[in-house]
Every structure is written in structure tokens, then in C-alpha cells.
Symmetry: C2
Subunit: 519 residues, 2 copies
């Protein structure tokens, strides 16, 4: 039988073969080369033990003697060292090309190959006619760069989350159970978490039947499954404009087409415009974010919500309601949901804990109305179940007190931050700049002077270690060239202020250049 | 502004409206009724605190006086009780219709409405022309029923997993970090986990470029994303027959069509038959499970693997390789993968830790060859990221010793169990029964006498608290009527033996009845 060796030296993932069959070098040299290549790629890290001679002989299908020769060669090359009674280890000190030492806590963030994968250096310019999801992913990666000012982030500052508290619950659960059976959390999901979510809605004055809830991997999966449940490839889906790009992603991924309906900065989607669209063409679904829409931050008035649901009823139109910011209101009480106005099961309500409690646990849910059975089945087909411990840990957190206190603190903080961010944009940005007035959430939508291109600004800012959300991301129609989205969830620092000042100067300069060109 | 109250009394999720606007009862009676309904539905559980009077007044948009009246009414109905200095609580003792008390550890498994959602009682007969995914989900739920013998489970006994150890790592990670930024684990996933996975392959003698790996929510998501990356709705996908139904699910979900290619119990997919199919029609992709296929348990010979990859090369055919059982071999070393024979990037290799380490953490991965960029992007669109702590906990577990020891124990156990299960089937089942000879994994494929219907057997067994995997699940062509799949991962008990004896008697009886009818 043939055996295969470590061959990691190819420059692409595809350059890989059974070298033993073709090579002229000796077996032990080949094995030594392969292991050294693996070390250089970081597969075996500094200080890590490699396979014992016996295991290596079995796994690589060579004799013990060949392994001993190969290991001796690697020792002579200072790649590995043998330690008495312990085995063979990758040496701690190597020349620069041998990869980096990444001990302790940092190891989770270690780069695989020694070269940083998320650089803050400028990237290739993104063409005007953008692939929205690639632009978004590229923006997110730039935020991951060390020390980049995260004004471009779509996510809240994770430091605000009660991460330690939730983890204490997770730990208690883990200690309480000797094992965990996946089958207990099959769709619709963990029963106790479902109950706690229903209870939370009830506390907020929203009636929810626990049996309607389906737990998902964040709201992202909830939105994807909801859309797939109500529309098929080639169908047209009405969205807000500007719209949160996760909606556009779902439409793109499922091979559907988006029709963008103009959206007011204070009241949400233009219902007259929506009705004209519906009168003109077949629309399979409508996707909206009625509360604190990303990027506009409005709270759709109740009368508008009621009318939207009525329009949906008239046209038998499923409405996907993205309500991930439901808990981040600046007013006294939670805003209403489209779901509450829905008596016909046409609203598929999607939400998550990612904006209020923990994003990295990836827990969301759907209330899919009359489409519940389809969404539950699609969840099963898409990811089987959602991770168990996070589900139960969040349920335990919700059952005990603290969520309301946490949220009150976060809301107060975001409300202050929104004011501060608007004031600072006003102070540092040139005339002709306008901002949204967020009623909740943690992002500000900024209209720049008309001829400032947000993609150029994005590139220039990135070169200075500042990230922003270019307006291009919020439409597939290549709109919002002179808009940007700013995240204000992070504590205000001198660095934030300097970044805003720099941005303002860049905008002023770009605006002036554009004006000069026109003359 | 209008306010909405808890309205949970509707018998469907849809019967919900703003009752205040329509009702003739007084406000406080309405509020009391709504809260009582919520308690009866289990939204507020026995002993739980309900909203304070002030909060309730805010949330439900009524006066303090109305809340006080409503709470007094609920006290008089024995639904809630007030505790000095503490607030209002749902009473512990209520009549039977008020829901069940579900304290302590069991609460995670509590039923939402007092009635069991996963009964072991017989279900509606499933029609012969089955919806495979519904049948599978229904089978899984029946396994979740208390005390059901889990011969029908597709999952390994979770008691074998090093759950406590992994959770200790999770806890250490949680304590080490004050917060966790989602952005660090954006696709392709957590860098350290990726490195550990590559290292594990290297230790097994398989060269893998870490940069090719994309972390997913279990192999289920990896398979879904891989298929979507290479084929579009309406396309035809070649699969084994019988095939693992997760493959059929992915095809069904994405609106593609399956063509089933006959598959040998010892050597895997019939390559001549596959070539005939490819010569005859356009096939967008091929999905196989070359190692310890579920349900057949074969290990495809290396020569067959090499030929399959060669055929794929000739036809430029992407091959999705489901290798979730890679670590559960009964031989001395890990079997080869299709991926190792692939020099052109046509193999999309999918795997996970769900069968060898932990299913409930939901961590899988793809090595998508030349389709890597698409799979990474689809991962981002489908679920954004995979839960963070589980990724890092598994990375830490892999970095430290113990995985090999754990696997050696599991392999030895499964090998013994496979022998035992085959012997017991031989002992208890009537003549005309044949079994597979698994080379790894934990399932046995059993051919029953020709006229025994596995759906009827499934129903009859379920009524006795025994689950089996009916053959219908493994094909969309309505085949394998007289085949069942048995799980042997659970420790052998008197209950297991009794269940097998009962099954054998049922099969004998059904076989005899069928013979009698024919006469």
C-alpha cells in the first residue's frame, strides 16, 4: 500500500503529490525536508513535540531507521531537538523565516505563516462596481488589523458584553454534565433557551409563542433560512435603500435579485414606493429592519409598521424582519415589532444576542410565522444544530438577573456616544456634511459633500490605520458614493478623536480637489 | 403611542393582536389574563419572578394602578404570589394544566408546555414515498425520547467524548480573556484551530496547507457550502447508493437533483457505473464518503481512490469528499483520503470533530481545493463565523496530548462493538439476514429478508421503545426497503440485547407473514 508524506512546500494548496514515488532524494532526506517544510509553514510550532519515532514510522510508512536518520538530519539543521525521556521538539529559536514564537494567550491570534494576514496597509483598490460581500469581508479584515481605529466595524465593542458572567454559566453547565447529547438540542433548539427567549419578549410586552421559535447560528443564519423558506432562485426581493448588507448577501447567496426601495432617514422604507413596486411586478418577499436600521438608525413609527404589515397582507407578501437591535433603544421602552401587527403569519422575525450579549457565541433565532416548519427543516439541513453549551449558558444568564441592568448601562452609554460622535463629526468635517439621528444601536450614517468618494476615503483612511464603512456596501445599485458609516460603540479616546480629525481633513481635501477640478 | 400586551392564548402562533384596542374587559383583567396565559404556556416558570410593578407599567404601557390591580387578581387566582422585599413570583404549586416544575439540571431538557415534545409513542405512519429529511428528523426525535434504545442514532455515544477535558480548556480560555472579538475568528476561522487541524493531518501523514482550511459549523455546513460552491440549482449530482442522507439533504436544500450510483459494500462507489453516467449526461459534482461510509462501513481501496480522482480529472468534475470518520479506523493507520491523490484542486474535502471529539460544539472544516475562495465567502454569508470558544477550546485540546490516547480507546471499543453487534444480529435475526463488515465507524448495515418492510419495522420497534434507521433514509429512489442501520457505539447492556432479540422476533414474524401472504 502506498503511503503519503507531509508535503507542504508547494506555493498553492494544489501542489501536492506522493513524492516518494517520483523523487530521487533518499527517503530520509525527503521525510526531513517534508517535516522542515511543515515547521516553516507553522504546522508544527516552536517548542511543540513532533511524532515519536515509532508513530512516525507507522504514519509515514517508512522504517524506524529512516525516521531516525531524518530526525538526525533535522537536528543537524537546528529544526528540531531531542529531549531526554520526552521525544523530539521543534526548536524555540530559528531564523526569521522559520516562523514566529507565539506563546500563551496570544497564540489564538497567531498568524499561520509568520506573515500578517490582516495588514493595515492599503489593499488593492476595490473597483467602483463592487462585489458587496467581498468589500465587506475585506473591510472587516482591515478592522482586525492591530491598532486600526474600528470606526468601520459593524459590531459593538465586545468589551461591553458580560462575557465573563456568561462563561461562568458555561463552566457550571460543563461541570454539571458528564456528557452532552446533541440530540437534545435538535431543531428547534435547546428548550430552555427557547423558553427564556419567549419570556424575554413577554417581559418586553411582546406576546410570543415559544413553539414558534427556531434557534439559529446568529441572526445571519435566521435571515438566510427565512429567505430561503419564502423565495426561490431568480425571485425578486424588496429591500430598503440603503440596506444592511447582510440582507443583500442573503439575496446574492441564494441567487435572487434585490429591488431597492427608497428609505427615509426617520421613518424607514417608503411605503408608497413599495406599493408602486408591488403593483408593477412580482415580489417574492420584503426584507426590512424597522428598529434602528443599520445604517440609518431610525425607529419606524408604529403607524408605518401597521401599514407595512397591512400591505403585506394585501399582497400575501412574506416580510423578513431583522430586529437584531431590538434591545438597544434610546427611549424608555422597547420599540414594537412588525411581528406584533401580524395576524396572518406573514412576518418572519429574526433576531440574535450578537448585538446585546455576545457575538462570538453565535446564537440567534427566528419566529417564522406560517413558515415555521420550513425554517426548522432548513436549519436542520443547513447546520444540523447550534452549539449546545452556548445555548444553555445564555439561557442560564437570562434566567438569572442582570440582563436588564447590563442593557440599561449599554443603552445609556450608546446614547451618550451617539451624541458625542455627531458633535465630533460636526466639529471636524467640512460644510456640506450631514449625519443621521440614531434612535438606537451604535452606528452613525454620514453624508459627505457630494463629490467625495467613500471608496477613495476608505483607502486613504486605511493607510492611516483608520477604518470606515464605505457607503458602497449598502446597495447593489452602486449608490451612496459619498456616504460612510461610523461605529460609536467603542469608548472615546484621544485616538478616536485624532482619527475623526484626520478623516475630516481628508474629506475637506477631497471635496476641495473635486471642486477645483470642476472649475 | 400604542402598547402591546402579552397575548399568548391563541392556539396557533398567529392568533395574536393588540387586544387592548378591541377588548371589552377592563385593562387590568386583560393584563392579568395575558400574564396567566404566559404562565400556562411556561413562558414564566414556577418560582420565577415576573416584572416589577414599575417595569410592568412601563413595558405594557398601563398605569401603576392597573398593574397593581392585575397582580392582585393573579394572586387571588393563585397564579402568582408576592414576597416581601422581593417582588412577585409565579407560584410553585399549580394545578396540572399550569405547567410542570422543572428545577435544577433537568431544566435544560424541560418541555415547554408540559406535554412531551419527543414522545416514544408511535407516530403517524410515514408514507413509502418519503421526504427523507423529515423522516430523518422524526427518527432523531424518537431517539431523544427517554429510555429509547438508540440503535437508530446516527451519532456516537456522547459519553465517549472527552467532554470534561475540552470544557476545562474552554473555561481556561474564558478566564484568560476579558472579552472576545468576533473579528478575530472571521472566515477562514480561528488561526490556531486551523493550525492544529493541519498539524493533525501532518501527524497522520497527510500534507495539508493550513491556508486552504475553512472552519465551519460541523461537516454539515462544510458539505452544504462545498456543494453550493460547485453546482447550481437544477444541476445533477452523483452520489453513492446507499448514501449518507446528509448528502441527499444538501442536494435537496439547494434545489439540485441526485443521481444514485450503485456502491459496493466492500470497495465503494462503482467506478465503471460512474463513468457510464458521466459519459451519458452532464454531472456537476460527485459526493462520496470513501472511508467507513455511513451506512456501509467500507474502506475504499487506494487504487479505487486514485482512479476516482483520475476520472474526476478527465471530466473536470468536482468531488466532495465527506471524511468525518477519518479517525475511527479499525486498522493500524489512518486511511488515505481522495484529497491526497488530487493534484488539480478538484477534491473538496469535508470533515469535523463531531464523530471523534465533540458533536455539540459544532466544529467542522473544509479543504475546498480550487474552490476555496468561494467556500470561504459562502461561509461568511451563511453563518458569518463559527462560535469562538469552542474553536479555541478544541485547538487547545489538540495542542496538548490526549487526542491519540482517546482515539485509540474509542477505536478499540468500536472494533469490539462491531464484532459483538454482528454476532448478536446473527444470533437473533432470522435466516436471510446479512450484515456489512465495517472497517471503521460505528454503524452496521443490515439486509433483512426481502419482504420485510423497514418502515413497518421502524414503527413497530418505536412502539416498544426501540429506534432503528430504516433503509428508506439512504436513497431518494425509494430503495432499501428491507435494510436497516444499527448504531453500535453505545455500551452493550441487557437492554440492548433485549432490544435486538425483540427486533429479530419482529423481523421473523414480518418475514413469515409476507411468505404466508404469497402462498
Amino acid at each position: 500500500m502506498r503511503r503519503f508524506v507531509i508535503d507542504l512546500r508547494g506555493s498553492t494548496p494544489l501542489a501536492r503529490s506522493n513524492l516518494f514515488a517520483q523523487s530521487n532524494v533518499t527517503r530520509y532526506e525527503q521525510l526531513a525536508d517534508d517535516i522542515e517544510a511543515a515547521v516553516r509553514r507553522g504546522v508544527f510550532g516552536p517548542g511543540e513535540r513532533i511524532l515519536s519515532v515509532r508513530r512516525a514510522s507507522q504514519q509515514y510508512g517508512v522504517s524506524i531507521k529512516t525516521v531516525l536518520h531524518a530526525y538526525a538530519l533535522l537536528e543537524s539543521r537546528s529544526v528540531i531537538e531531542s529531549r531526554p525521556q520526552s521525544g523530539y521538539f521543534v526548536r524555540m529559536r530559528m531564523d526569521a523565516s522559520h516562523g514566529r514564537r507565539t506563546p500563551g494567550n496570544e497564540s489564538a491570534h497567531a498568524m499561520l505563516t509568520g506573515k500578517p494576514r490582516r495588514a493595515s496597509a492599503p489593499r488593492q483598490p476595490v473597483p467602483a462596481n463592487v462585489d458587496v460581500s467581498r468589500l465587506v469581508l475585506s473591510t472587516l479584515r482591515s478592522i482586525g488589523a492591530q491598532d486600526a481605529v474600528p470606526l468601520g466595524s459593524p459590531y459593538p465593542d465586545p468589551a461591553l458584553f458580560p462575557w465573563r458572567r456568561i462563561n461562568q454559566y458555561a463552566n457550571a453547565i460543563a461541570r454539571r454534565h458528564a456528557s452532552w447529547n446533541l440530540i437534545d438540542d435538535l431543531p428547534p433548539g435547546n428548550p430552555e433557551l427557547i423558553r427564556q427567549i419567549a419570556r424575554r419578549y413577554a417581559e418586553n410586552g411582546v406576546g410570543v409563542d415559544p413553539e414558534e421559535i427556531v434557534i439559529t447560528v446568529g441572526a445571519t443564519e435566521a435571515i438566510n433560512l427565512s429567505l430561503q423558506a419564502v423565495a426561490k432562485p431568480g425571485d425578486t426581493v424588496a429591500v430598503e435603500s440603503p440596506t444592511y448588507y447582510a440582507m443583500l448577501h442573503a439575496i446574492e447567496r441564494l441567487g435572487m435579485r434585490a429591488i431597492e426601495v427608497s428609505t427615509h432617514a426617520d421613518t424607514g422604507i417608503d411605503l408608497d414606493a413599495l406599493e408602486r413596486v408591488l403593483a408593477r411586478q412580482k415580489v417574492a418577499a420584503c426584507m426590512v429592519m424597522p428598529n434602528f436600521q443599520n445604517p440609518l438608525g431610525f425607529r419606524m413609527p408604529d403607524a408605518h409598521k401597521a401599514r407595512l404589515v397591512a400591505i403585506a397582507g394585501t399582497h400575501d407578501l412574506p416580510v423578513i424582519e431583522n430586529d437584531v437591535y431590538q434591545e438597544l433603544y434610546f427611549g424608555e421602552t422597547r420599540p414594537s415589532t412588525l411581528k406584533q401587527f401580524d395576524t396572518r403569519g406573514l412576518v418572519l422575525h429574526c433576531a440574535s444576542f450578537s448585538k446585546s450579549l455576545s457575538a462570538s457565541y453565535r446564537i440567534g433565532w427566528a419566529l417564522p410565522g406560517r413558515y415555521r416548519a420550513q425554517v426548522e427543516k432548513l436549519k436542520f439541513l443547513n447546520t444540523l444544530t447550534t452549539a449546545s453549551v452556548p445555548q444553555v449558558a445564555l439561557a442560564d444568564y437570562l434566567r438569572h438577573d442582570g440582563y436588564d441592568r447590563h442593557l440599561r448601562r449599554v443603552r445609556r452609554f450608546y446614547r451618550q456616544q451617539a451624541r458625542l460622535m455627531r458633535a465630533m463629526v460636526e466639529r471636524f468635517f467640512p460644510a456640506g456634511t450631514r449625519t443621521s439621528e440614531p434612535q438606537g444601536g451604535y452606528v452613525l450614517w454620514v453624508e459627505l459633500p457630494p463629490r467625495v468618494d467613500s471608496m477613495r476615503l476608505y483607502q486613504a483612511a486605511l493607510a492611516q490605520g483608520i477604518t470606515i464603512g464605505p457607503g458602497y456596501m449598502f446597495s447593489m445599485r452602486n449608490e451612496y458614493h459619498h456616504y460612510i458609516r461610523l461605529n460609536y460603540s467603542y469608548p472615546w479616546t484621544a485616538q478616536t478623536e485624532a482619527a475623526l480629525k484626520t478623516l475630516g481633513e481628508m474629506v475637506a481635501k477631497m471635496s476641495k480637489e473635486a471642486d477645483d477640478e470642476r472649475r
